[in-house]
């Protein structure tokens, strides 16, 4: 049957991959997993290509029933997962047999998790991606969030997945795991690192000081388009009307209310609010875990450092991928 049945779905579970790149010109969001790094790591663990589609689980319970043998792995917030009654920690890979269940229990902290299944989720590719665009209602499973009882088709398992399954043998769960900070992306401290945005100097020193020193709270109207914050009002010196221009996931924009918004993967392609700062790419994982009631602070770093950390992480992912291949050769 090559499918997994969603027996009960939590809050906002969607099919996602690394995003729909190349269509911003038509106003189409990049979207994809809000933490693409987490999905990529989970995919490598189960022997998938890094860009295979998996499931993004929002807060809450998710129950899946498998119809054939698969490998599964997940990365993300402080969820608790069990496979056929045995705990599966984040960043490890487990065998699940046909007829067995995966349960993902609501997180004690953090808001999202990414689940990879060997073979990947097989929904039609629309505009180059399997990601669900919830705002424009296409991609993923019929352009919507998963519902109870949805059958979700899975793709054919790769040779690498077969080798991993063989290596695991009867142990069911890997002795190896992804680096802890990739697997468990629960925030370890309050700070999210940022670089300056184009309109940094439009804000008076008092607003810039408040932005860097004070604590902001995440408000309940946050979603996959943006994390809305409540804190000191950041007012511009001369609030001129601006022409819309490109924005990106991670952009921190400040609407006239003075309450900043951190844009996430499903954000619009262009925006007309001043861009105060940008969350650096390696800290998008932390931003993607923010949910209502969380507090967050910002720490400025240099652009060169932000890029250096990103390059280091890319090299480590490549080493991790090669390490997994050697392990199963």
């Amino acid at each position: 049957m090559n499918e997994v049945l969603v027996t009960r779905v939590g809050f906002l579970t969607t099919v996602q991959d690394l995003g729909r790149v190349g269509h911003r010109q038509s106003g189409v969001s990049v979207g994809g997993a809000l933490d693409t790094h987490a999905l990529r790591v989970a995919n490598l663990l189960v022997g998938n290509a890094a860009g295979a589609a998996g499931l993004e689980a929002g807060l809450g319970k998710l129950h899946l029933r498998f119809t054939d043998d698969r490998l599964i792995a997940w990365c993300g917030g402080a969820f608790e997962a069990d496979v056929a009654g045995r705990i599966l920690p984040p960043g490890q890979v487990a065998v699940v047999h046909g007829g067995e269940d995966l349960h993902l229990a609501p997180p004690s902290a953090g808001g999202r998790a990414w689940l990879a299944i060997s073979g990947g989720v097989d929904v039609p590719i629309v505009m180059g991606s399997r990601a669900t665009d919830r705002r424009a209602r296409f991609g993923g499973l019929k352009g919507r969030v998963l519902q109870d009882g949805d059958p979700v088709k899975l793709g054919p398992r790769s040779p690498q997945a077969a080798r991993i399954a063989e290596k695991l043998g009867s142990s069911r769960r890997s002795s190896w795991s992804a680096p802890n900070e990739w697997a468990n992306t629960t925030r370890r401290h309050e700070f999210v690192r940022v670089v300056r945005g184009a309109h940094w100097s439009r804000f008076p020193p008092s607003a810039l000081a408040a932005f860097q020193r004070e604590t902001f709270m995440v408000t309940p109207d946050s979603d996959q388009m943006g994390v809305r914050l409540h804190g000191p009002q950041l007012m511009q010196v001369n609030p001129d009307e601006m022409l819309s221009e490109a924005v990106a996931p991670g952009t921190i924009q400040v609407p006239p209310s003075g309450q900043p918004i951190i844009l996430l993967g499903d954000c619009q392609t262009i925006g007309g609010y001043p861009k105060l700062a940008h969350v650096i790419t390696v800290d998008i994982a932390a931003a993607a875990q923010l949910h209502a009631g969380d507090s967050v602070r910002f720490a400025e770093v240099t652009l060169t450092d932000a890029q250096r950390w990103l390059l280091e992480r890319e090299r480590e992912v490549e080493r991790f991928r090669i390490g997994l291949e050697l392990k199963t050769r």
Binding site: V21, G22, H23, R24, Q25, S26, G27, V28, V126, M127, D133, R135, A136, R137, F138, G139, V195, G197, A198, L243, S244, E245, A246, V247, A248, G250, T251, Q268, T269, I270, K275, H278, V279, I280, T281, L303, T304, A306, Q307, R308, L310, L311, E314
Partner: protein, 237 residues
């Protein structure tokens, strides 16, 4: 020309300094810059998003290193590539084709135009005069965004300019033709919106299964043609 970082993996290139006094020249500058950037195919650049007077350019820092950038000066490397691309002359046979002209049928029936009376009244026009004005203009697509396929059209007769509504609607139907400030636009999919609704087109402005998915592209010229309610109801694409 100004190049500003947009986080660690993108930049915004401003290609025109005075949009307000010459929107048409700004659009030409953006289209020309985009053509040059695409022709240059700068290594590591993943995609572009053009706006009114700027082009956002997304890149992969790891790709920049592979292409020869040094890790502590990726931005300088990219700026140099962008300046070189924009300075390059375009060969005569590669000149941009004249922009496409699209005729978009619009039904101005009162049911589809709840805000038309208010828009007309603001300039002391009758509803018929407002419709005639709206369909007499030739517009150009300055931007595509907000939602997939939404065209921001410049060239709206000044008498029709209307501020956005104080209370945006929770859901504007797909195909709604609307006025926001000095621009007119079309909602391709049902979405929340604050523009004034003055008609509806039966055309699908965005269809992810179609190639290309968006009906209009930046730079296209657009005219509106008035259709009756009967034509609208029996429209088949």
């Amino acid at each position: 020309m100004e190049i500003t970082p947009l986080g660690d993996s993108a930049v915004v290139v401003r290609v025109y300094d005075d949009f307000a006094s010459n929107p048409e020249a700004a659009l030409e500058a953006v289209l020309n810059a985009q053509q040059r950037l695409e022709a240059a195919a700068i290594p590591s650049v993943v995609e572009y998003v053009a706006a009114y007077d700027s082009i956002g350019l997304f890149f992969d820092p790891a790709g920049a290193i592979e292409a020869g950038a040094s890790p502590d000066s990726i931005l300088d490397w990219l700026k140099k590539k962008i300046f070189a691309a924009l300075a390059r002359p375009i060969r005569a046979n590669k000149k941009r084709a004249r922009s496409a002209l699209l005729e978009i049928p619009v039904c101005y029936d009162p049911e589809y135009a709840p805000d038309l009376g208010e828009v007309a009244g603001r300039s002391g026009l009758s509803i018929d005069e407002a419709v005639r004005l709206h369909r007499s203009g030739e517009y150009r697509v300055h931007c595509v965004g907000f939602v997939p396929g939404f065209p921001y059209l410049g060239g709206l007769p000044a008498e029709l300019a209307s501020p956005r509504r104080a209370n945006p609607r929770k859901s504007v139907p797909a195909g709604s033709v609307a006025i926001g400030g000095a621009q007119t636009g079309i909602y391709p999919i049902a979405s929340p919106g604050g523009w004034n609704l003055i008609g509806r087109t039966p055309l699908r402005l965005f269809d992810p299964q179609r190639v290309p998915p968006a009906l209009v592209a930046r730079g296209d010229r657009v005219r509106f043609r008035s259709i009756s309610r009967t034509e609208f109801d029996s429209w088949t694409e």
